[in-house]
């Protein structure tokens, strides 16, 4: 009797652990979502922010101060006009005064977003970008963000955020 109790005492946790281990985690249902916008030109305010309310029905704002600072555009300089395209849920920001495209990835449920720069030109050409233009390009279901600029061939950013010379 004592032995049975000892087996039950030590074996029950293993049995329970095995039971919980084999259970499938709860499956969250999904649906298809493609979130894009056309090109949205927005004026940067003196405080470095842009307001989507300029172009309804989108509303909200982005503080571009860190990006402006990274581009070397000081507070005293005239604020540029940026163009923004939402591509597969990420925001891409470009301007003639910029040397790079900036990718902003929202964090749902918060008021913050991650951002990174995507260099377009390198070296001596880094400041030669002009007439920049963001567009959607490609086929249904796998479109790219197309970046045209006067100083070079077009570049493409895929749905995964990779930079390529063509749109797969």
């Amino acid at each position: 009797m004592k032995r049975r109790c000892r087996i039950l005492l030590f074996g029950l946790p293993f049995v329970m652990a095995a039971d919980f281990g084999c259970a499938t985690p709860p499956v969250q249902p999904t649906l298809t979502l493609e979130q894009h916008t056309l090109r949205i030109p927005l004026a940067v305010g003196s405080d470095g922010t842009v307001s989507f309310a300029e172009r309804p029905p989108l509303i909200g704002r982005i503080d571009l101060s860190p990006i402006l600072a990274a581009e070397g555009i000081g507070t005293g300089a005239p604020p540029p006009t940026v163009q923004i395209v939402v591509h597969y849920g990420r925001l891409y920001v470009a301007a003639d005064a910029f040397a790079a495209i900036w990718e902003i990835t929202p964090r749902p449920g918060t008021t913050t977003a991650a951002y990174r720069s995507i260099p377009i030109a390198h070296g001596a050409e880094a400041r030669a970008m002009s007439d920049i233009r963001l567009s959607r390009y490609g086929s249904s279901g796998s479109s790219c963000l197309r970046i045209d600029h006067a100083s070079g061939d077009p570049l493409f950013i895929t749905a995964r955020g990779e930079t390529r010379d063509d749109c797969p």
């Binding site: 056309l38 007439d131 390009y137 490609g138």
Partner: protein, 355 residues
């Protein structure tokens, strides 16, 4: 040699830089073309909008990658194309309305007495009012959206109908009944705004009418002088060659004045009277021995009065013609909205202008 080559080299470099710069211009993308089409449509440039839509369609047909999921083809372009089609149809209806209205405009039977002014006022007011009602009805029937109606008012077709209502009706009436009738029209609130343009002209017309009356009086005196001259010439038994030449010269001037007045539409045709005078002069036998100085010359005095009177009448007529020509030129100026600025001059106007 070096100095010659340097400018050529600089010129080549400049041309090359220009070509390179031109090559850098980006081709318009669907977004730009759509925005341009919408902008042109909003200002009533239907032809420009259609051109941009055509370019957008061609771009998407050439490179479908520019339009993933057919967003432009299936969602963004159709509303613009539909609005453009509605506006084009409405503009076409307005063009047809304008053509029909111009063709059917029939002013009352012209009569230059003052009694017809009331008739012209009533006719102009009723025609302008009915045309405006018809035009607005066409717009309402063709377009239900107030925004599109507003766009239609910016189109060339609408502007032509406005010219029709503001100018063409009155011009047609002026062509039929004379400018004076347009100047005298008043009293109807529907055309009051239009008549403001003609009020200044009215004062000038009154002054011109007074000058014309004076001219007619002088022409009447001229006619009496001509008759007296013929009678005096009939009494002459002979005439000196020098006097004969002088008479011929004055008759020639008289004939030219008469031709100018006749071409301007002022006064009756006196060519018969002048021809009779010329014949009377030619029928008087010439006598070289006769000294004309001591003889009585009642006819010479009459002719001396007659020819300056005719000359004065000619000058007044010329003033009238110049003013009339100036009014006609002003009427055809672009700011008056006349479409027929390059239209051939009518025969009647050509004669006046030539005079």
């Amino acid at each position: 040699m070096t100095t010659v080559r340097r400018p050529a080299l600089l010129l080549c470099l400049l041309l090359a830089a220009t070509c390179l710069r031109a090559g850098e211009q980006l081709e318009a993308d669907p977004h730009e073309l759509l925005e341009s089409a919408q902008q042109r449509l909003s200002v009533g440039d239907l032809r420009g909008c259609a051109g941009e839509i055509g370019r957008l369609r061609a771009l998407i047909a050439r490179a479908p990658q520019w339009d993933p999921e057919g967003v432009f083809s299936n969602h963004l372009m159709p509303p613009v194309v539909a609005a453009l089609a509605r506006l084009e149809a409405a503009a076409g209806a307005l063009d047809e309305f304008e053509r029909r209205a111009l063709r059917d405009l029939k002013p009352p039977d012209p009569g230059h007495d003052m009694d017809t002014v009331g008739d012209y006022t009533g006719w102009a007011a009723s025609v302008i009012k009915s045309l405006r009602v018809e035009r607005d009805g066409i717009i309402r029937a063709a377009l239900s959206d107030p925004g599109e109606r507003a766009i239609l008012t910016r189109t060339e077709s609408y502007a032509r109908t406005e010219r029709l209502l503001e100018i063409e009706v009155l011009m047609k009436m002026a062509d039929t009944a004379g400018d004076e009738v347009v100047g005298l029209l008043s009293g109807d609130p529907d055309i009051e705004s239009i008549l403001v343009r003609f009020r200044q002209l009215k004062q000038e017309l009154i002054r011109v009418a007074a000058e014309r009356d004076d001219l007619r009086r002088q022409l009447g005196e001229s006619e009496e002088g001509s008759r007296a001259l013929r009678e005096a010439l009939d009494l002459r038994s002979s005439i000196a060659p020098s006097e004969c030449d002088r008479l011929r010269s004055r008759l020639d001037r008289y004939r030219r004045y008469d031709e100018a007045l006749l071409a301007a539409g002022l006064g009756p045709d006196r060519s018969e009277s002048i021809r009779a005078l010329a014949q009377a002069v030619e029928e008087i036998p010439q006598s070289g021995e006769i000294d004309p100085a001591p003889r009585p010359r009642g006819w010479t005095l009459i002719l001396a009065v007659l020819v300056p009177a005719a000359a004065g009448a000619g000058l007044v007529a010329r003033l009238l013609i110049v003013r009339r020509g100036r009014r006609q030129v002003l009427r055809r100026l672009p700011h008056r909205g006349r479409r027929d600025i390059d239209a051939p001059i009518r025969q009647k106007d050509a004669g006046r202008d030539a005079a």
